[in-house]
């Protein structure tokens, strides 16, 4: 069949956003219905694509894609419209589709006065994030990567609490600064490749061979020897992605923003957007700069570990429950980053799995926190207690989300965290041990959060609240269900990702690898473990 499904996925929300403009702003129900329908339709397409993508990919090569489309875009500089879906992007794209459905559903009545704007921006964001996930061409990728900020900016600047202005500007300026460094790197790579190969291209698959010099760069006049151009270029990418993930110490935009943003934005912002940094690390930084990655992996993994522990400590010291969740997100994103920098199959696979899992978990946690705030009018941990008796259903959902959030074995995040930590262990045991400390701390603050809100005798603010409405339950149910389901059956994710991850890992190791224990083969698999 010749339907360009990926383009359809990209354009569907865009078309819906355009269609929204002709609906009068008073037709609230229609606006909402259209938004939900559009996101759901996109989700249906994506999920079908992902579900049916088993088997061998269409195109072979160092990176292979199950679905891809390629057209000329800017021939003068060799930029193409090259989109592709492979095992790594597939699940994240599925998550993308899901969180936007969630966001569309969650658009609350409170922002009805500008519902139209909200829905339009939400749909635009979906197009952009899907574009980031699908782009194979670096310029196209950058276009979506930066373009994503536009609807996000309007969303964050328009909706949320009174502190949103500062937080939004901080976020945007921060990300733009990082992205621009990446742009320099992209261009350096582009020209180096152009000189080396004689043809201009921004296509990832073309640029894989590198072309950037591996001789250390010497600053003229002062005669200081610095990194190689390849390493500098990698650092440019790393800056952009580390800010987006974010890694400590680039995280300061995160808590403020998460605190101020409304939940309908948070579900896809915290649930997906911050993961795009991690995804892009895997897709671009690892494959394009294997030498540099191998040089810097120690530092980056250390930063990831610092993020894990620092985020946990910060979560431990907060009173605002939304900030606790925000910092927990920082900590968990540290796990994802750690998995990436292990540069082995386990770590990266774990990171991909965890991206999906954490997206589900954080979305649920933010929804729950929002419900609590709505019902009680406070987010102060000290003013909240004893909600279990008042809100047993919320208690149950929150419990599952909490457990998933703290990496409980049997929950979805365990599969990811286990493989990440295994990968980290293969990189160096110390990383795994420190990450383990992070797990213990996570247990502490998550339980304290959950118990603090749910247990103990009720406080004045929590005396007279009622349980969640069935509709809210219906929103949370699939999330919670997925947490359990993916905990019990994480296999399908791994099945889809493994080929692409293996290719990526091979690329990351494909060149002169530096020191580090070699665990590339984990030895024979004992027959006892297999049927």
């Amino acid at each position: 069949m010749n339907v360009p499904w990926l383009t359809v996925v990209l354009l569907l929300p865009l078309a819906a956003a355009a269609l929204l403009q002709v609906i009068p702003r008073t037709a609230v129900t229609l606006l909402k219905a259209l938004t939900v329908t559009a996101t759901a339709a996109a989700a249906a397409i994506v999920w079908t694509l992902v579900a049916t993508m088993g088997g061998s990919p269409h195109s072979a090569g160092p990176l292979s894609f199950h679905y891809s489309e390629i057209h000329q875009w800017i021939p003068v500089i060799g930029a193409t419209y090259h989109v592709g879906l492979d095992g790594i992007s597939a699940w994240i794209l599925a998550l993308n589709a899901g969180v936007f459905v969630l966001g569309a559903i969650l658009v609350s009545r409170r922002s009805t006065d500008r519902l139209k704007l909200f829905c339009g921006l939400l749909l635009l964001t979906e197009t952009m994030t899907a574009g980031v996930l699908l782009s194979v061409d670096l310029l196209l990728f950058y276009l979506f990567w930066e373009g994503m900020l536009i609807p996000l900016y309007f969303l964050l600047a328009n909706y949320g609490n009174e502190n949103r202005g500062r937080a939004t500007v901080k976020f945007i300026v921060y990300t733009v600064a990082g992205s621009l460094l990446m742009l320099v790197s992209i261009l350096s790579l582009f020209f180096a490749h152009g000189v080396a190969s004689g043809n201009l291209s921004f296509d990832l698959t073309q640029l894989l061979g590198g072309g950037l010099s591996k001789q250390p760069l010497v600053i003229p006049w002062v005669n200081i020897t610095t990194f190689t151009p390849e390493q500098w270029a990698f650092l440019g990418f790393a800056a952009a992605f580390a800010i987006k993930i974010p890694l400590v110490p680039f995280h300061t935009w995160l808590p403020d923003l998460y605190e101020s943003a409304p939940v309908a934005v948070l579900v896809f912002f915290a649930g997906l957007v911050s993961k795009l940094g991690a995804y892009s690390f895997i897709r671009f930084a690892l494959t394009l700069f294997p030498d540099a990655v191998n040089t810097f992996k120690w530092v980056l993994a250390a930063l990831a570990v610092v993020s894990i522990i620092y985020g946990a400590l910060m979560a431990l010291s907060q009173r605002d429950i939304k900030r606790i969740v925000a910092y927990s997100s920082l900590s968990h994103l540290g796990f994802i980053a750690l998995g990436i920098f292990t540069l082995n199959v386990n770590g990266i696979n774990g990171a991909v799995i965890q991206i999906v899992n954490h997206g589900i978990i954080i979305a649920a946690l933010f929804i729950i926190v929002d419900i609590i705030e709505q019902r009680t009018g406070t987010r102060d941990r000290h003013e909240l207690a004893g909600l279990e008796r008042r809100m047993p259903w919320l208690y149950a959902f929150f419990l599952v989300a909490t457990l998933a959030g703290l990496g409980m074995p049997g929950m979805n995040s365990f599969a990811g965290e286990f493989s990440i930590m295994l990968g980290a262990f293969q990189l160096h045991p110390a990383y795994a041990v420190l990450a383990g400390l992070g797990v213990v701390l996570a247990c502490w603050y998550m339980l304290r959060l959950h118990q603090g809100v749910m247990h103990d005798p009720p406080q004045p603010r929590t005396e007279a609240v009622g349980d969640i409405r069935p509709a809210q339950g219906l929103v949370l149910l699939p999330l919670v269900g997925l947490m359990v389901f993916l905990g019990v059956f994480p296999g399908p994710v791994g099945d889809v990702t493994q080929l692409s991850v293996k290719q990526t890992t091979a690329l990351a190791h494909g060149y002169a690898s530096t020191a580090g224990p070699n665990f590339s083969g984990l030895g024979p698999v004992s027959p006892g473990g297999q049927p």
Partner: protein, 655 residues
């Protein structure tokens, strides 16, 4: 015993409690109390029946085929070079024993709970958690993959957490639950890291695979020692062994059936099971084994001493549990796997019994737990007292009661096959523990049931309803006769009197080239002497206790009052472990977190961005200052720049 049988039976036994848990959790709040009770206990009854069938399967299997595995589904497969984990189950004698203990004791406790929780509103929640616990425990013991075992391991901790915090409006319960869970997670992490070491070294997490590849570890080498130490740490956390023991007494905040089921009979003994299960690895790590044995016996002594000083009825039993598990850990540490497992089984019976009997007392006194306010309950609670006494006898190791067989078996094994150059040192400590056990066991019985009633409430105490008494009675019978039956059976088949049948049953699991004899060989004089000395120790303890506390007004602190002040103080305060941990771990971490929030985040993390933004702003103000609005100023800038440019080009020309 075919793979498919195992798969079907395992699936069934796992699904039944799970279904019960889900049913009660989701719709329990709309069902009547009877239906909830029926679901809760019925699912366990069904599971117990399945367990029986499974036991029969194992027993009926021919020698050499007592163990079978089944692959249920692939959990995760990350391709070559990556993690591969299957949801596999194993049925072998060891897991069969555990299944029987879990479902059997579990069933009785569930029945008991029907009565005990009669007036509690959250009965559906309670049964849901209890069923979840049974499910988790079954996962743990059936798992044939280390990762699945870890999942079960953590699920068990979860159910324990839920049940400890069952009365969630009690702040102390909430804190205790969290404490228990965090400690467990610390153990989990150790286990996970052990799993990493194993998978990196061997390449698989499948337990049969690990055991098959165990010889690839250098015996006594650093790697295997570290792996086993980490496994042991995991076991210590679960089994409340030093230094991860502080959560167990606090866990008594949960309802009494919970204490009986989780914190006495099953969960806390999972550590013993783990070490026994991984004996092929431990056999190759003598240093780790020695560490395990020492920790076990040390904890046994420490907990015994503390038990003697406590005044809360459940805490006394909790410390006694800790002490007994210390003995089991000691047993598996010295390689007496069968003996350890046997003590596990008997202990499950009599300790559950003790807890439930104590529950009856608490129930009768309307939630009074302080033994100083009891006394003289034998008049009103005669049946309970009988049962309690049976448990006390078993605990103290009075000959022919269940505890006697298991305890003497493992102590004797320690003397004859123990580690190190002087196995008798540990044995003597064990005898000391026997004395201690006798002391605190009978102290409890005497102060609760004998003497004068200390409060008026005692007179109003009523015997528990039948639904609570029957399970207690069954357990009392078991603790009285289980050992005896097995012993006689052993004698009949000309085997070791103490644990012969049991050891034979488990032998397919524990027979490995590295391991020595499975049970104490009573044919030697040393062994017989050891048995006699040990028994005398137990009797001595019991006698001393009777002498001290069987007075008119039994004083719980009768012994401690005569000792120097410092020792009882130490013991009563549990050797200040909570305080030490608080000072060493909790407070520094909290301080660190606070410092992160107050200092690091604003001063250091934000400062970089802030500096840049301030600098830009300053620069902007500076530029703005030069934007005076005066034409002459503007012209002077232009002239200056033009002059500089001209000079610059001219200078560059001469370059």
């Amino acid at each position: 015993m075919t793979t498919s049988t195992v798969a079907v039976l395992s699936g069934l036994i796992l699904l039944l409690p799970l279904a019960g848990a889900l049913l009660n959790a989701l719709v329990g709040w709309r069902l009547s109390r009877r239906v909830v009770n029926a679901i809760g206990t019925g699912s366990i009854l069904a599971a117990f029946l399945v367990a029986c069938v499974m036991l029969a399967q194992v027993v009926g299997a021919p020698d050499g085929a007592k163990s079978a595995s089944a692959h249920l589904w692939q959990w995760l497969d990350l391709g070559t070079g990556g993690l591969r984990v299957g949801v596999d189950v194993t049925l072998d004698p060891l897991s069969a024993v555990m299944l029987m203990v879990i479902t059997g004791v579990g069933l009785l406790i569930h029945v008991y709970s029907v009565g005990y929780m009669e007036h509690d509103r959250g009965i559906a929640r309670f049964f849901s958690y209890m069923n979840l616990f049974i499910f988790s425990m079954l996962v743990l013991v059936l798992a044939a993959d280390l990762l699945i075992l870890i999942i079960g391991w953590a699920l068990v901790a979860l159910s324990s957490y839920l049940l400890i915090g069952f009365w969630y409006e009690r702040p102390s319960a909430v804190v205790a639950a969290r404490k228990a869970f965090i400690t467990q997670v610390a153990g989990d992490v150790a286990l996970v890291i052990a799993a990493f070491l194993i998978v990196v070294h061997i390449g698989t997490l499948s337990m049969p695979g690990i055991f098959a590849a165990a010889p690839s570890f250098a015996s006594g080498g650093l790697l295997i020692t570290v792996v086993c130490s980490l496994l042991a740490i995991g076991a210590f956390a679960k089994s409340a062994q030093f230094p991860l023991h502080t959560w167990l007494p606090d866990a008594m905040e949960g309802p009494t059936p919970v204490s009986a089921l989780i914190h006495a009979a099953t969960m806390v003994t999972a550590g013993v099971y783990l070490i026994a299960r991984f004996h092929p690895l431990f056999d190759r790590a003598p240093v780790a084994q020695g560490m395990v044995a020492c920790v076990g016996i040390g904890t046994a002594v420490m907990a015994g001493v503390i038990a003697l000083s406590q005044v809360d009825i459940k805490r006394v039993i909790a410390y006694s549990t800790m002490s007994q598990i210390g003995l089991m850990i000691f047993a598996v540490g010295i390689g007496a796997y069968s003996a350890g497992m046997f003590h596990l089984a008997t202990h499950a019976v009599f300790k559950a019994l003790l807890f439930m009997a104590a529950g009856n007392v608490i129930h009768a006194l309307h939630d009074e737990q302080d033994i100083r306010l009891m006394g003289g309950l034998s008049t009103n609670l005669r049946r309970t007292e009988l049962c309690f006494l049976s448990g006390t006898f078993a605990l103290a190791g009075i000959p022919l009661f269940a505890g006697f067989f298991s305890k003497e078996g493992l102590l004797g094994f320690g003397l004859t096959n123990g580690p190190g150059a002087f196995p008798w040192v540990l044995y003597l400590v064990g005898v000391g523990i026997n004395v201690l056990t006798g002391l605190y066991a009978f102290r409890l019985w005497a102060t609760v049931f004998r003497g004068e009633p200390q409060t008026a409430r005692v007179y109003a105490a009523r015997e528990a309803p039948r639904v609570m008494l029957v399970p207690v009675a069954i357990l009392a019978l078991l603790s009285a006769f289980l050992g005896l039956i097995l012993g006689v059976w052993s004698l009949v088949i000309h085997d070791n009197f103490l644990i012969g049948v049991f050891a034979r049953f488990l032998s397919p699991v524990f027979t490995t080239p590295a391991s020595g004899p499975l049970a104490v060989d009573l044919s030697t004089g040393t062994a017989i002497l050891a048995g006699i000395v040990g028994t005398l120790g137990s009797l001595l303890g019991a006698g001393l206790a009777a002498r001290i506390w069987l007075q008119r007004n039994p004083d719980p602190s009768a012994v401690t009052a005569r000792l120097p002040r410092a020792l009882p103080q130490l013991a009563y305060n549990k050797f200040y472990f909570d305080e030490i941990y608080d000072a060493l771990l909790v407070r520094p971490l909290v301080a660190l977190a606070r410092a992160a929030r107050r200092v690091v985040e604003p001063r250091f993390m934000n400062s970089g961005v802030q500096t840049v933004s301030d600098a830009c702003s300053e620069l902007g103000a500076w530029v703005r200052d030069y934007q005076t609005g005066l034409i002459r100023d503007y012209a002077s800038y232009m002239i200056a720049a033009a002059g500089v440019f001209v000079v610059a080009t001219l200078v560059l020309v001469s370059r």
